[in-house]
């Protein structure tokens, strides 16, 4: 198809041309990654309301449910972002595996971060976690007790199961790694580099990633320690 298009001198649609280059895909990955990261932050702030008690938390959940004109566009945007992010990561993983068919007998990192070299591990595991997370708390098929009208109770009964909490904490650690690299990498990908600001972006990425990690795990930890009690 590209051959005929070239023969007939028809320029390809700009978007398609852009997507065909690996750098274009990488930019899509950066943009969708930024959207996902913003959602994660907003989600965390919503979740932390669990420390304010069942009424506050369930009230927040109910308020969201009564805002379909906000919730649905966001869900669609997130779904598109996840699909594009994963699609481009798969294509880039293929490019990567083809670009060095024979590896080294010895290879030693000379100056890169662990997080940056493990994005193809942290990402897919986080995706698997998100699938389970939605099954558990959105669709109620995660194997822990579920009551659609009581998100607070769902969280408590969910995190009472140590295996569930541990998987959650593990996934958050990987998300932290993914974002510690991703949050600065996206600026570099989109062409922003500044000798003074880039080191700041590096530090901010670490801080935000750690905030997300400790913020999220505070909930299962608090449940397991009994700091957040079930409603009797």
């Amino acid at each position: 198809m590209s051959a005929t298009a070239a023969q007939e001198g028809i320029p390809k649609p700009r978007l398609l041309r852009f997507w065909e280059t690996t750098l274009g895909k990488k930019a899509v990955m950066a943009a969708t990654g930024a959207i996902l990261a913003l959602f994660v932050l907003a989600h965390l702030i919503g979740n932390l309301q669990i420390f304010l008690g069942p009424d506050q938390f369930n009230g927040y959940a109910r308020a969201l449910r009564h805002l379909p004109e906000l919730v649905w566009p966001v869900r669609v945007l997130l779904l598109i972002s996840v699909l594009l992010h994963i699609w481009s990561s798969i294509e880039l993983a293929v490019v990567k595996s083809e670009a060095r068919p024979a590896g080294y007998r010895r290879w030693k990192p000379a100056g890169s971060a662990y997080a940056s070299r493990t994005m193809y591990w942290s990402g897919p595991i986080v995706a698997a976690f998100v699938a389970y997370h939605l099954m558990q708390f959105t669709f109620g098929v995660g194997g822990t007790p579920y009551n659609r009208l009581d998100p607070y109770g769902n969280v408590i009964s969910g995190f009472r199961v140590p295996a569930v909490s541990l998987f959650y904490i593990f996934a958050m650690a990987l998300l932290c790694l993914h974002l510690r690299h991703g949050l600065w990498s996206l600026f570099q990908t989109l062409g922003f580099y500044h000798p003074r600001h880039t080191p700041r972006i590096h530090r901010a990425a670490w801080l935000i990633a750690l905030f997300i990690f400790f913020g999220f795990i505070s909930i299962p930890v608090a449940v397991m320690l009994g700091v957040i009690p079930p409603v009797l």
Binding site: P11, K12, R14, R17, F18, T21, T22, L23, G24, K25, K26, A27, L92, V95, K96, E98, A99, R100, P101, A102, G103, Y104, R105, R106, W107, K108, P109, A110, G111, S112, A113, S116, R117, M119, H181, W184, S185, F187, Q188, T189, L190, G191, F192, Y193, P195, T198
Partner: protein, 253 residues
């Protein structure tokens, strides 16, 4: 001093290769890594064996001909140093050194430690130049360039095209190399007319040559003997992304 080498030996691109062990005694610590290989090769020739093939030319760190992996690091453990400038005193007596060629699909192995890096030349040919009337010399200072732009363009222009960045990159990407040229020309007034087209063409060429896509890991910066910074990759990305939206046709030809 004594060193134990494990060197990748491969007759040509079609034959399989393997690591071969050589013990070399009586080396002078002030020799360069390449001189140690010269000594080894003389002995191999006397024994009637094939010498180890490696590329070299200036032996003063400016031509970009030399380069191989030493214990998994491109150009070896000393930062901002090519293997021709790397002296043996940086290694312990009796150290074991694994020497391997640059590995990338775009760098086919020619023999032993020598790879074909002409893919880098083709990237330059695709846009790493400026078109200018080559008549009489222009007046000095006729085109003002700020001190800062001159310095940064000069920093980017320091790339010697050795390919270490590709070799070290887990993605086998040539982004540091390509970005260096795009940044060098893009920072100067002379580079402006072709700036958008240059970014589109050089990035497209990099893809066609089979290099991987950069994911901002930063190994390239750590091994580059000329200290090229990943900032140049960001400049390349910016030029490319901007040109993708403004240029009328891919490759603009």
């Amino acid at each position: 001093m004594k060193l134990i080498f494990h060197i990748w030996r491969q007759r040509d691109g079609r034959s399989p290769g393997r690591m071969v062990r050589y013990e070399q005694d009586g080396l002078n610590p002030d020799m360069s890594m390449l001189e140690a290989l010269d000594v080894l090769n003389e002995e191999l020739i006397l024994k009637g064996e094939d010498p180890v093939v490696f590329e070299h030319d200036c032996r003063e760190g400016i031509c970009g001909s030399c380069g191989f992996m030493i214990n998994g690091v491109a150009h070896g453990p000393l930062s901002k140093t090519t293997v021709c400038q790397l002296t043996l005193r940086h290694f312990d007596n009796g150290a074991e050194l694994y020497l391997e060629p640059w590995r990338a699909k775009a760098f086919p192995i020619l023999r032993d430690l020598m790879v074909d890096r002409s893919a880098l030349d083709r990237i330059i040919a695709s846009g790493g130049y400026i078109s200018t009337p080559a008549g009489s010399a222009p007046d000095g200072n006729a085109i003002p360039v700020s001190k800062e732009a001159a310095e940064r363009a000069m920093d980017a222009a320091a790339c010697i095209g050795c390919g270490a960045c590709v070799a070290a990159c887990p993605n086998a990407s040539a982004s540091l190399f390509t970005g260096a040229k795009i940044a060098h020309l893009g920072l100067l007034p002379q580079g402006q007319p072709e700036r958008a087209r240059r970014a589109l063409r050089m990035v497209a060429r990099m893809n066609e040559e089979g290099f991987g896509q950069c994911t901002n890991i930063g190994e390239c910066e750590a091994v580059c003997p000329k200290g090229i910074r990943v900032e140049v990759i960001s400049r390349m990305n910016r030029d490319f992304l901007k040109a993708s939206w403004t240029a009328r046709r891919a490759g603009a030809d």
